[in-house]
Symmetry: C2
Subunit: 585 residues, 2 copies
Amino acid sequence: MSGGGGAMESSLIAKHLLLCCLFLVASALAAVAQAKTVHEHWDISYQFTHSDCVRKLAVTINGGTPGPTIRAVQGDTVVVTVKNLLMTENVAIHWHGIRQLGTPWADGTEGVTQCPILPGDTFEYRFVVDRPGTYMYHAHYGMQRSAGLNGMIVVAAAPGGPDAEPFAYDGGEHDVLLNDWWHKSTYEQAAGLAAVPIEWVGEPKSLLINGRGRYNCSAMASDAAAACNATHPECATQVFAVVPGKTYRFRIASVTSLSALNFEIEGHEMTVVETDGHYVKPFVVKNLNIYSGETYSVLIKADQDPNRNYWLASNVVSRKPGTPTGTAVLSYYGGRSSPRAPPPTSPPAGPAWDDTAYRINQSLATVAHPEHAHPPPPRADRTILLLNSQNKIDGRVKWAINNVSFTLPHTPYLVALKRRLRGAFDERPPPETYNHTGYDVYGVQANPNATTSDGLYRLAFGSVVDVVLQNANMLAPNNSETHPWHLHGHDFWTLGYGVGRFDPAAHPPAFNLRDPVMKNTVAVHPYGWTALRFRADNPGVWAFHCHIEAHFFMGMGVAFEEGIERVGKLPEEITRCVSKKGGQH
Amino acid sequence: MSGGGGAMESSLIAKHLLLCCLFLVASALAAVAQAKTVHEHWDISYQFTHSDCVRKLAVTINGGTPGPTIRAVQGDTVVVTVKNLLMTENVAIHWHGIRQLGTPWADGTEGVTQCPILPGDTFEYRFVVDRPGTYMYHAHYGMQRSAGLNGMIVVAAAPGGPDAEPFAYDGGEHDVLLNDWWHKSTYEQAAGLAAVPIEWVGEPKSLLINGRGRYNCSAMASDAAAACNATHPECATQVFAVVPGKTYRFRIASVTSLSALNFEIEGHEMTVVETDGHYVKPFVVKNLNIYSGETYSVLIKADQDPNRNYWLASNVVSRKPGTPTGTAVLSYYGGRSSPRAPPPTSPPAGPAWDDTAYRINQSLATVAHPEHAHPPPPRADRTILLLNSQNKIDGRVKWAINNVSFTLPHTPYLVALKRRLRGAFDERPPPETYNHTGYDVYGVQANPNATTSDGLYRLAFGSVVDVVLQNANMLAPNNSETHPWHLHGHDFWTLGYGVGRFDPAAHPPAFNLRDPVMKNTVAVHPYGWTALRFRADNPGVWAFHCHIEAHFFMGMGVAFEEGIERVGKLPEEITRCVSKKGGQH
């Protein structure tokens, strides 16, 4: 339109502009109105529980374990007010998979992002759930996660938004939280791990589905059996009900302390559609391998005989199982079977526990959904090779990364770095690599110079970092375990998996740069390597560690700092353990 | 000498003065040289222990329980550097019987005098042991004392000083620390006490002498018996060796969680000479009743047949015993019996557990040594009557004092009062008395309006305070227990004991104002009362409570403030749990 338009035209333009403007404002208002605040008020206390029918003192949320599922919509602010009613014990809670953009102090990682919450204190975690998906929360202090403080976070996609699900299900959703369970207290477990000689935690007593398992009371000695009540309502089998013909989304999270699991719904194939908050190119499995710290969504169609029930089964893989199958029941509405009736079959036993190739295949099959691929930057600014090894340090069995066994500093990194406290941690950076040309990952290695350190990796803000996790043999011959590594504050691209020793020259050209799925937790398979990439663009300090509780306790982790100068003012409440006299004391 | 004395005389006077002055200076220097600093460095950690042959996770000092005996001389400064190596649990240590003159922040009472010590923190307790005597230390946080963190403090009299012992012993000293022991963790105990319905801790599994007991492994179920090792060196019977003909001082302390004990040395009469750091008019007993928190010194003469051994025995009294006799062995040097040989007799069974009169008689016999009597002020400025009752509050069984069940504030009183923080605790003072004319101490009472509160008594500085502890029936009919009450920061005069309801008009004239012994812990006997007097002259805030761990946990205590304005600058380290935003949060 030229400068000399008539009154009529001008009026039309103005009208257009006004409408356009109103629409924009309305949209913005709608968006604002949509994003709400989800409040949770949690009392943390010790309670006697019967998760697998055996009475055990557990750390509970509002009296129960697992805790309530947090349900929110993408963009919501979640506010969890945590009151610590443990008598003498502190607590910290991690929101696993939530990136904490702009709120690094709310990550809940004791020693990294906050001082622990003292008994009697109330602490407010406040963060935005910026992405839809299936997540979890759990204690991140000592070995407190194993004591029962855990639960799920379910974030729905904003309706009609760019992250809406690229799949449909007309039946609704079911949440499945998988766990393993011990009868010894976490204190006993930790004291045993730190003892000389080490007393290993051993295989779990039970596998739990939604906090329910079933220990064989009759196998217990008479005096101990008094604490076992097979009819206790807390260990009643969980029933998942479905309407014949409908399709359901099962959200599955594993918060196990130790076990890699295989999950199966008897008679029902599963279509994998999401992992760790990212949509995957759908693929069908009979059963699903899931490692501690991972989440998946699968779709199942209720298309089987509705007049009988079906097992949900979790089985230990990767370690030689010493624990019965964990079970729940799938039941059809309107069928002739009572919902609680045990299925007429034996529960699925899962694949061979030592079939590593089977599990690697699932890792390789898990790639980004084509409509939701976020291709990674084409190259990394820095590559860090992390070899894990089992070592002896001062007579104690430890895990080490590049021969350094990780310990947490007393003053949280976030506080020490933000306040520039000196001496709060070992300021020498940990090693960037290991002897990657000569190390025999299949043999027992001496690793004589292993040390402990709370040093951390400092990353250039915005830089692209590749990390290659290298697995190897442990102290015992012919033994290499699966380690699920979890990165805080980020999702990373899973660029590749391999068997044997990673070759920095040979392997990167085969990295999947086309459609790698993003995740926050990834397995490094026995004797194998896993390569991942992330952008160090989230100001804060972030733990990266094996999600097996005992392994992290024994030193299997590192920490990354990035953009500390961009971190906002720290809440006073996270600094309660920091001496005014300085970092170390 | 008159004013006009000659030069000769002046010179003599000057010489005299000079000599006198030099002597004073020398004395002062000698005193300074004598007072030394005793350093202890303690690592607090969980360790598996076998105190009664059964494996149990205990809170230990430098790996052991009980901890080392602190040995010092009157006037010494004791510095204990405590490093908390518990993984997720805080700690605080109370120096039981040490008055903390000028160092109220070093009393180690969580919630009263300090914030707890966080995991990874190092805290320095520094205080003067101003009086000779037998004392103890133990955790004072939650129910942590029961977990094994305890030990003895032995303060020798300054040689030749005014507090030198009015008795002699040529054989030396033996220390005896009595305890009771459970196999459940203190977490389980505390969770049970707080449960609805209450799950009582029950009778102890074993009685320990110097941390050693002997559980009957063969009585355990097969799977539990694996944790019982009758030949474990940690539960080897303690042997006390004596030289024939010599006289020994046995220092005896009871740190039991629950049990009133009777202690006996088979075949050897005991002459009681000290209690709680005060010399008593010697009296002879066959066996000694000792309540949790009390200490005694007794003299025994090694005048029996040296060719056999003798039992040391501790037996439960006041509660119907459900625990075998705790034992150790007395053995003569040069005798024909092996030191570890069990005596040829059965261990002494002690007096009838319910012979209250027998125990009251010992209380009445315990009066001040005539050369060391510190007569009390003739009258009190204020009298506080404290009725204890068992109550139900919100369905939970509690103990209450004048119908108020005591809770500890989150911000320690000492910090809240010194910093004048508002809202840190209930500022309404607790009741000064109860219905002392009408209350039936022998019947079950409803006490419908019982409440919980963290209010405290504020005492005029320097005033003389009488406290009368009134015992009564519990919730169950025909049941009244012995409660040993311990006052922090003070010794008090024990003015009198009575049976039934205290009458403020009738009973005080019979108070013993002539030679009452001073103590820091005193029993109130079943259905009885105990009167005590102290001067509120130690600036600080001081707990006063039943020394039965479960009873204090259930609310059986009060707190006193006096002279807060005279308290010096608080160390920053005790304030770590205090929010900058104010007392309450």
